[in-house]
């Protein structure tokens, strides 16, 4: 029968259960240390284009570190040492000619706590575009509306675009932040626990949004919520102690994982 997975490697090494048809990001032999602490160990994986990929694993497994490495957030930290390569559409993101600001436009990031700027809803979304400059008011209006529509927030805020972003609820603020990121037309959206501070309804709206956005861009999600990873992602990578353990289609990883370590984690067992 063809459904049976091929035999696993004898010992060690991650199990990677799929070959992406088109990858957007490629991580090759990435190791990363904070001072003396090794957070990622020789990790390699490919993130498929226009799909949702989830990184899961216990606290301290390196999933957020990996996510942050994808748009060079570690550049700000002098203590971080990094080796290996990260390719965005085939180009090394650490190459000298790559501008960090442009990289972060292409690879947007949304954090756990919504962080709208202390300005109006409209200005929040327009912020990144104004930094880029050269956009007329009329065009700006269109992009702001498109971004808010894409973030499934437009209908709730269209009558009060001038109000402060702080007047929005937590879930709305998070969608505003996503709209702000979308406005500069990124290719990749990194989401670090985007719904962990939200109530269940807002969480479902964010998840619905993630599903809809994948027709436009590549999404990478870090979450502690296994059901959320199971609900929204197409592929799931399980990390433990800075290593990739198992990476495969979410459908099979959550019903029939190949490794005991993965099984123990997703079912809440002691290792």
């Amino acid at each position: 029968m063809s459904v049976f997975p091929s035999p696993r490697p004898a010992a060690g090494g991650p199990i990677i259960d799929f070959e992406p048809a088109a990858s957007c990001l490629e991580v090759e032999g990435l190791s990363l240390a904070y001072g003396e602490t090794l957070a990622l160990r020789d990790l390699s994986l490919r993130v498929p284009r226009q799909r949702v990929t989830a990184f899961i694993g216990p606290s301290g497994c390196g999933k957020s570190t990996l996510l942050r490495a994808l748009n060079r957030l570690h550049d700000l930290n002098d203590e971080v040492r990094l080796s290996g390569r990260i390719l965005l559409e085939g180009q090394d993101i650490h190459a000298p000619e790559v501008e960090v600001a442009e990289l972060r436009r292409r690879v947007g990031m949304v954090f756990q706590a919504p962080n709208p700027f202390p300005m109006s809803i409209y200005d929040n979304v327009a912020f990144g575009l104004r930094l880029q400059g050269g956009i007329r008011k009329r065009q700006m209006d269109d992009i702001v509306e498109w971004a808010l529509q894409s973030a499934a927030l437009w209908d709730e805020v269209k009558e009060r675009l001038g109000s402060s972003a702080w007047t929005l609820s937590g879930g709305q603020q998070q969608r505003l932040v996503i709209a702000r990121t979308l406005a500069v037309r990124p290719e990749v959206l990194l989401l670090d626990e985007p719904a962990s501070a939200l109530d269940p309804i807002s969480t479902l709206k964010i998840e619905e949004l993630i599903r809809n956005l994948k027709s436009q861009l590549t999404l990478v999600l870090v979450t502690h919520n296994m059901q959320q990873a199971a609900r929204v992602s197409d592929y799931t990578a399980f990390l433990q102690e800075g290593e990739l353990v198992e990476y495969g289609p979410t459908d099979s990883l959550f019903t029939n994982p190949r490794l005991v370590r993965t099984e123990n984690y997703i079912t809440g067992r002691m290792g």
Partner: protein, 242 residues
């Protein structure tokens, strides 16, 4: 990866361990009752005990109640725990197994009803040899299916999948010989038809035992072997220890 029969006792939540253990325990209890129903239905026929036949028919309600109880417990686990991986496969396997056990219970009850008719008609013991032989075979299959479920034993489960083919052959042979009785003596048609229904029920019980064995393979290996010809099964994949 393989799972072993103690895997469901290693959760961080002990309450969850207990809930899953209870599912297995209750399924085994249901299996025990169903086994007894088959045995008593056949004994009622062979011994001409119409009281026993009536009791078997009445007891079918207890089997049905157990299925409802187990389904309710599975629903609770799904709603409260959102189980994944082997936990999810256990819950699904238990729901399916309880459904097949309930159907086996129905077949036992049908055997008892037909036995009561035969006893009343006082038709001698023609065909009893076949009933005895096939009933022993399928009862052993049900018992082995439950054992393989309790031990997560895919080797035993695989053996059952092949055994069901033997039962089907025994059933066909028995039907042919009963058919000749009917052709020889038109007055025997009615009692022989009752016997044929009994054999048919026994053969169906074999099919349900076969289903139970398939759920064990799904539970342990994550492989869905339903609707696969037994000759096409990848036996190595099913019995390989990982």
């Amino acid at each position: 990866m393989d799972i072993t029969s103690d895997i469901h006792s290693r959760h961080i939540s002990r309450q969850f361990n207990q809930e899953l253990e209870e599912l297995k325990t209750h399924l085994m209890a249901m299996g025990g009752l169903v086994e007894k129903q088959i045995q008593e239905a056949v004994v009622a026929l062979l011994d001409g005990d119409s009281d026993l036949a009536r009791r078997v028919v009445e007891n079918d309600r207890a089997v049905n109640d157990m299925q409802i109880k187990i389904d309710g417990e599975c629903t609770q686990v799904l709603a409260r725990r959102q189980p994944a991986a082997s936990d999810l496969r256990l819950v699904l396997a238990v729901i399916r197994a309880a459904s097949d056990l309930e159907r086996i219970g129905d077949e036992a009850s049908k055997i008892a009803r037909n036995a009561a008719d035969l006893i009343e008609g006082n038709n001698g013991s023609r065909g009893f040899v076949e009933v005895r032989m096939i009933s022993e075979h399928v009862r052993r299959m049900v018992r082995d299916a439950l054992t393989s479920f309790a031990r997560f034993d895919t080797e035993l489960a695989l053996k059952l999948v092949h055994e069901d083919e033997e039962v089907d052959e025994e059933y066909r042979t028995a039907m042919r010989s009963l058919m000749t009785f009917m052709m020889e003596d038109a007055r025997s048609i009615s009692p022989i038809l009752s016997l044929m229904w009994i054999l048919r029920s026994l053969e169906r019980i074999g099919d349900h035992a076969n289903n139970l064995a398939e759920y064990v393979v799904y539970l342990v290996k994550g492989l869905d072997i339903r609707h696969t010809d037994p000759d096409d099964l990848d036996e190595r994949a099913i019995t390989r220890k990982e």
